[in-house]
C-alpha cells in the first residue's frame, strides 16, 4: 500500500478506542448499558452481538453522532467531537447506503475529503485501492451493495487514519470481495492501526479477527482473543451462541 511521506507509524501505534462506563438511553430503552472496553492497535478486533445489542449505537457514540447519557468514549485519549481533522485520526463505515444516489463516487469522496483539507489526488488513490477507479464517474445510485461497501471503505481510508471502525462491511460482497475485506483488515492492523469490525458472519470473523468483544443488551459479555474462545468452544460460532444465549432479543424460538 502506498503511504504518504511524513505521516509515520508512530502516530498510529498509540491509537486506541476507549469506552468508559458508556451508557445510552433512548426514552425508556437502554441501548448501551455501562459498557467499558478498549480496542488496541495492531490487531483486528471483532465486535459481536445479536441484533439490537448496541453495536451500532456504540459506534455512533464513539463518533460523537449521539450524545451518551453517561460515561465517555475516547479516541486516542480525546473525545471525538474535539478532533479538528477527524478524518486523519478516525475512519468509519457505518452504513454503506448512506450516499446520495445522484452523485458520482469521485464527487462523493471529494465532498468528504475537502472538509478535512484532503485533495483529489488522495481521492483517486483510495478509489484505486478499493477497486472502483473504473466507475469513479458513475452515479452511486447505480452501484450494487458490494460496490457501495467498497465506496464506504474508501471514505474511511481517505485520511489515512490510525483508527478504523467498520459496521458490517462484508454484507453484500461477493466471495472475492469478502476475501479482499479480510486481507485489507489484516493489512491495516499489521500496519499498526486500530481496527474495530462488526459482523454476524462467525466463520469470516474467525478468519479475520484476533480479538473479540461480545456485547448483548448493551452490556459487555466477553472480551477475549479468538484463540481463547476457540480453545474453550468447538468454534467461534459455538462460543458466540453460548455467550449470547441469554441476551438474544429478536430471535425465533428454537
Amino acid at each position: 500500500m502506498v503511504r504518504c511521506a511524513g505521516r509515520g507509524p508512530r502516530r498510529i501505534l498509540d491509537a486506541v478506542i476507549e469506552l468508559r462506563r458508556l451508557t445510552k438511553r433512548y426514552g425508556g430503552a437502554l441501548a448501551v448499558d455501562d459498557l467499558s472496553f478498549t480496542v488496541e492497535p495492531g490487531h483486528v478486533t471483532g465486535f459481536l452481538g445479536p441484533n439490537g445489542a448496541g453495536k451500532s449505537t456504540s459506534m455512533r457514540l464513539v463518533l460523537g453522532l449521539d450524545a451518551p447519557t453517561s460515561g465517555v468514549a475516547l479516541v486516542n485519549g480525546r473525545r471525538y467531537a474535539s478532533l479538528r481533522r477527524p478524518m486523519r485520526e478516525v475512519g468509519a463505515l457505518l452504513d454503506a447506503g448512506a450516499v446520495h444516489g445522484g452523485r458520482s463516487a469521485y464527487n462523493h469522496l471529494l465532498c468528504l475529503a475537502r472538509t478535512n483539507g484532503i485533495g483529489p489526488l488522495r481521492v483517486a488513490e483510495v478509489l484505486e485501492q478499493v477497486g472502483l477507479s473504473g466507475v469513479a464517474r458513475k452515479r452511486v445510485g447505480t452501484f450494487s451493495l458490494g460496490m457501495k461497501q467498497r465506496l464506504g471503505i474508501a471514505a474511511a481510508l481517505l485520511g489515512d487514519p490510525g483508527v478504523l471502525m467498520f459496521d458490517e462491511p462484508v454484507n453484500g460482497l461477493d466471495p472475492d470481495g469478502v476475501r479482499w475485506i479480510r486481507d485489507l483488515m489484516r493489512t491495516l492492523a499489521h500496519e499498526g492501526r486500530t481496527v474495530l469490525l462488526s459482523s454476524h458472519l462467525m466463520s469470516e470473523m474467525a478468519l479475520t479477527a484476533d480479538r473479540i468483544v461480545v456485547i448483548g443488551r448493551g452490556r459487555l459479555i466477553a472480551e477475549a482473543t479468538v484463540q481463547e474462545l476457540t480453545a474453550r468452544y468447538p468454534s467461534l460460532e459455538d462460543a458466540y451462541m453460548a455467550l449470547t444465549a441469554g441476551s438474544v432479543q429478536y430471535g425465533a424460538s428454537r
Binding site: G64, L65, A92, L94, G97, V99, H100, L112, R114
Partner: protein
C-alpha cells in the same frame, strides 16, 4: 473554508440543483410570455380602453417561481442528507457540526443572491422591452423609481432559500418542509385574507408577499395582503423569515442526536 468548498461541490454534483436553478431562470420566459400576451390585448383594444388599461407588476408574479425553486433547493440541501443517512457521515467529518450548516447557508444563500436578481431584473428588462410605453407608461418610468421594489423582490428569493434550508434542518423531512414552504406562499395568505378586519390587514402586512412593497414604500390601494409596515420594520420582518429558522437549526444541530 474547506467545509464551504465541500458544500459548494455537493450542490454542483447533483442534478436537482441544476433543475431548480434552471427552472428559476426559465421564469424569465414566463415573464416574457405574460408581457407578449398583455401587449397583444393592449394593441387590439380600442383607444378609450387603452387609456384606462393597467398592468400588474409582472416581476411580482414571476418571482414566485424562483421563490419556490430556491426554497426547494434549500430544503434538499439538508433533507437529502437526512433521507439517505449521509448526514451522519457529514457530521462525522465535521464534528463541530455548526460549520456544516453555516457552509450550506452560505452556498444556498449565495445562489439565491445570484438567481433572485437575475430573474427579477431579467423579467423587468424583458417586460420593458416588450411593452414599451403601453399601459400608461408602467414600464417606461425611470429605472430609479422601480429598482427598490425589484431589489426587495430579489431579496425574497434569498429569504426563501434560507427559510427552506432552516425548515429542512429543523424538520429533517423533505415532504414536511416543502409542504410548509408552499403553505406559506399559497395557503396562509388565503386564510388571512378571509379573517375579519383589522386582523386580515395586520397579519397580511407581515406575509412575505406584502413585504417587498412595504420595503420599497410603494403601497398599492388594492393589495391582497396588507400594507401597514414602514420600510425598515418590513425589512426586519423579511430578514426574520430567514434568520429565525437558520439560527434555530444551528442551535438544534449541536444538541440533537444524528
Amino acid at each position: 473554508m474547506s467545509v464551504l468548498a465541500s458544500e459548494w461541490l455537493k450542490v454542483r454534483s447533483v442534478r436537482s440543483s441544476y433543475l431548480t436553478l434552471g427552472l428559476s431562470l426559465a421564469a424569465i420566459l414566463l415573464g416574457y410570455g405574460l408581457a407578449v400576451m398583455a401587449k397583444g390585448m393592449f394593441d387590439s383594444a380600442p383607444p378609450a380602453q387603452q387609456a384606462k388599461a393597467r398592468i400588474a407588476e409582472l416581476e411580482e408574479v414571476v418571482v414566485m417561481v424562483p421563490q419556490l425553486c430556491l426554497g426547494v433547493l434549500g430544503v434538499l440541501a439538508i433533507t437529502s442528507e437526512h433521507a439517505t443517512g449521509l448526514i451522519r457521515t457529514s457530521l462525522t467529518v465535521v464534528p463541530r457540526r455548526w460549520p456544516l450548516l453555516a457552509a450550506k447557508t452560505a452556498v444556498v444563500g449565495g445562489l439565491g443572491l445570484v438567481v433572485g436578481p437575475a430573474t427579477v431584473f431579467g423579467t423587468y428588462a424583458v417586460a420593458r422591452w416588450v411593452l414599451g410605453d403601453r399601459f400608461s407608461g408602467a414600464y417606461s418610468v425611470p429605472f430609479g423609481a422601480r429598482w427598490p421594489l425589484l431589489a426587495a423582490l430579489s431579496l425574497t428569493v434569498v429569504v426563501f432559500a434560507l427559510l427552506g434550508l432552516g425548515l429542512g434542518a429543523i424538520l429533517r423531512s423533505t415532504a414536511a418542509s416543502i409542504a410548509i414552504l408552499v403553505g406559506l406562499v399559497y395557503v396562509i395568505p388565503i386564510v388571512i385574507g378571509n379573517l375579519p378586519e383589522p386582523w386580515s390587514e395586520r397579519f397580511g402586512s407581515v406575509m412575505i408577499g406584502a413585504l417587498p412593497r412595504e420595503i420599497a414604500g410603494d403601497f398599492p390601494t388594492d393589495s391582497v395582503y396588507g400594507s401597514l409596515l414602514p420600510p425598515v420594520p418590513a425589512m426586519v420582518v423579511l430578514a426574520a423569515y430567514a434568520v429565525v429558522p437558520v439560527v434555530t437549526a444551528l442551535w438544534l444541530i449541536r444538541r440533537r442526536d444524528a
